[in-house]
């Protein structure tokens, strides 16, 4: 087992509990699709510099919550703050720039850009990306520096040999890897991964897990959605459980594994009861 984060040691494992140093706070966040309460949270805090797993059955509202937090969907009610700053009504691209970057459950590779271009396009505050800067700015040295960073990252994700291929020619698993590497190029404080391990081979999963722990150790906050309980147990500092849009439990991984509410949510309410 990898080392757990110390700051959460004294936090009570109760849904909606306050954390000592939260980077992300959400209050009363609600999203309805017709009569369906896809997300209906009272309060959620995510501790800075930890790996927080978001788990729950299919359709629990995990992806919808990601969409709300990152501005890809608008909530029907509620507010949320990143580093204390309110994010209500802020467009998604600004949320990404302000330091919270997400990946998608269904990968979104930029098919007719090369793998390297996929990486390079993700860098932020680039003078060459403005119209006047592109024409008259000096951006070649920025490109060269970014390319070095990108190449190192591609190596870590085992994609460096593909750097000049079109991203559209990658396999499904490789696209997942590229998407994660690309999100990191934005240099976010909070990185939100929607099932990053789905379709990635087990050997690579291990190295990815290692990579995610490194990110945390560098001070980044990782929130990730995952269905594989072994993976969740292995790397999470904290686990948040959703079911039917609600936050039903949270706590350290050991606590969650034995939590009756969580088991109910996954297996149905009356499992094991004699009728």
């Amino acid at each position: 087992m990898l080392d757990k984060h110390p700051t959460l040691a004294n936090v009570a494992p109760e849904p909606g509990v306050g954390k000592p140093n939260p980077i992300l706070e959400a209050d009363g966040l609600k999203r309805f699709f017709g009569g369906l309460h896809a997300v209906d949270l009272e309060h959620l805090e995510v501790e800075r510099g930890t790996i927080t797993s978001l788990i729950g059955p299919n359709g629990a509202g995990k992806t919808t919550l990601f969409n709300l937090l990152t501005g890809f969907d608008r909530p029907d009610a509620g507010e949320w703050h990143l580093n204390g700053g309110p994010l209500v009504g802020i467009p998604s691209f600004r949320i990404a720039r302000s330091g919270m970057v997400r990946t998608f459950q269904l990968t979104r590779s930029l098919a007719r850009l090369t793998v390297m271009e996929n990486m390079m396009v993700a860098t932020k505050d680039h003078v060459g990306e403005s119209f006047w800067g592109a024409l008259f700015g000096r951006w070649r040295h920025i490109e060269a520096a970014n390319e070095k960073i990108a190449l190192a990252s591609l190596e870590r994700f085992g994609l460096d040999h593909m750097k000049d291929e079109y991203a559209g020619s990658l396999s499904g698993g490789q696209r997942k890897l590229l998407e994660m590497a690309r999100a990191l190029m934005v240099a976010p404080d909070v990185i939100m991964l929607d099932e990053p391990m789905a379709g990635v081979n087990p050997a690579l999963t291990q190295s990815l897990l290692h990579h995610i722990t490194n990110l945390r150790d560098d001070g980044k906050t990782v929130i990730f959605i995952e269905h594989d309980m072994d993976v969740v147990q292995e790397i999470s500092d904290w686990v948040v459980v959703m079911a039917q849009g609600k936050l039903i439990a949270e706590g350290p991984p050991e606590h969650i594994a034995s939590n009756a509410t969580v088991i109910d949510a996954y297996l149905g309410r009356h499992h094991g009861e004699v009728p």
Partner: protein, 330 residues
């Protein structure tokens, strides 16, 4: 049938005034469609505001050199007006709004209430004298054999192809910069671009305005050559010429619009010559029912069929990369 004459005429068309004008116009459309993925079905509207902006300026007593920036400004403003409400919506909305805007503008400049400025159905003439007065080329015919242009045409062609060259250098600078890379990322997947912090709306607006301004330059150039702007010239067909050219040359390629335009106008003239010869001169039984006035419509039908063939078998255009086409966007 005089095949040599037909080929010479087609060759003249391939480097002629319409070829230069549509190469320029298509460079603008290519930025929007080929690099950013915008469906601007009203490119003709940008050509119209460019031409009218210039003509009206001169008509009101201004210089043509003031008219040019006025025309460009008009196109930029049109891009803002069309883009602002639509570019946040799905791609098809822009297509619907632009095609409608083209028709609305054409009918507006044609209407009697706009006539004090636009001269209604009569249009505005002789506003480019200042440009032709500058022509340093001595009177005469230039070229080889029957492949010749008079001094006026040479002067106009010089302007046209210089503009094409300038616009190409401009696009070359832009599209190989990080700005161009962000544009292509948006073309591939807007949500992915948003998730990486790109201001997708802002980029699309820029693309629409810049591409539109280049379209306006093309409109001005055509108007200068004809010394005439007339509402009935600005029909949706012009937009579809430009689309055909962009697709023919390969969307999202630097030289695609130029190559596409040259081929387009060569074929246009060549088919015209061959069909006229077949129908009028030759005594071919099954063609007897046709006469010279049928050539135009048949030519359009052939172009339509050709475009369909391209879209099915070579959507990357004649010169686009095969590899790129094989990648079925997701």
């Amino acid at each position: 049938m005089d095949i040599v004459k037909i080929l010479i005429d087609a060759g003249r068309a391939a480097i002629g005034v319409p070829a230069a004008a549509y190469a320029l116009s298509s460079i603008g459309l290519n930025l929007q469609f080929g690099y950013t993925g915008l469906l601007n079905f009203g490119h003709v509207a940008f050509m119209l505001v460019g031409a009218y902006g210039m003509a009206i300026t001169v008509d009101l007593g201004g210089s043509i050199w003031l008219g040019v920036p006025v025309g460009i400004l008009a196109a930029v403003i049109l891009g803002l007006i069309l883009g602002f409400p639509t570019l946040r919506l799905r791609a098809d909305y822009l297509a619907i709004v632009t095609i409608a805007a083209g028709e609305i503008l054409r009918l507006a400049v044609r209407s009697s209430w706009a006539a004090p400025l636009t001269k209604g159905i009569f249009g505005i003439q002789r506003f480019a004298d200042e440009f032709f007065d500058l022509n340093p080329i001595p009177v005469g015919l230039y070229g080889i054999g029957r492949f010749r242009f008079d001094e006026r045409t040479v002067w106009v062609l010089l302007l046209g192809w210089s503009l094409v060259a300038l616009a190409t250098v401009f696009l070359w600078k832009l599209t190989r910069s990080p700005w161009g890379r962000a544009m292509r990322a948006i073309r591939e997947d807007e949500d992915a671009a948003l998730s990486l912090g790109k201001n997708v709306f802002g980029y699309k607006l820029q693309s629409l305005m810049i591409g539109g301004a280049i379209g306006a330059l093309a409109g001005m150039f055509l108007a200068i050559d004809q010394q005439n702007v007339n509402p009935d010239a600005y029909i949706p067909l012009l937009t579809f010429y430009a689309f055909t050219i962009v697709i023919l040359g390969g969307p999202g390629t630097l030289f695609g619009p130029i190559v596409g335009s040259v081929i387009f106008w060569f074929l246009f003239e060549f088919l015209d010559g061959v069909m006229t010869a077949l129908i009028v001169e030759m005594d071919i039984g099954f063609l007897d029912a046709l006469d010279a006035t049928d050539v135009g419509p048949i030519r359009f039908a052939l172009f339509g069929a050709g475009l369909m063939w391209l879209m099915i078998y070579r959507p990357q255009g004649l010169f686009g990369s095969k590899e790129e086409m094989l990648i079925d966007a997701r």
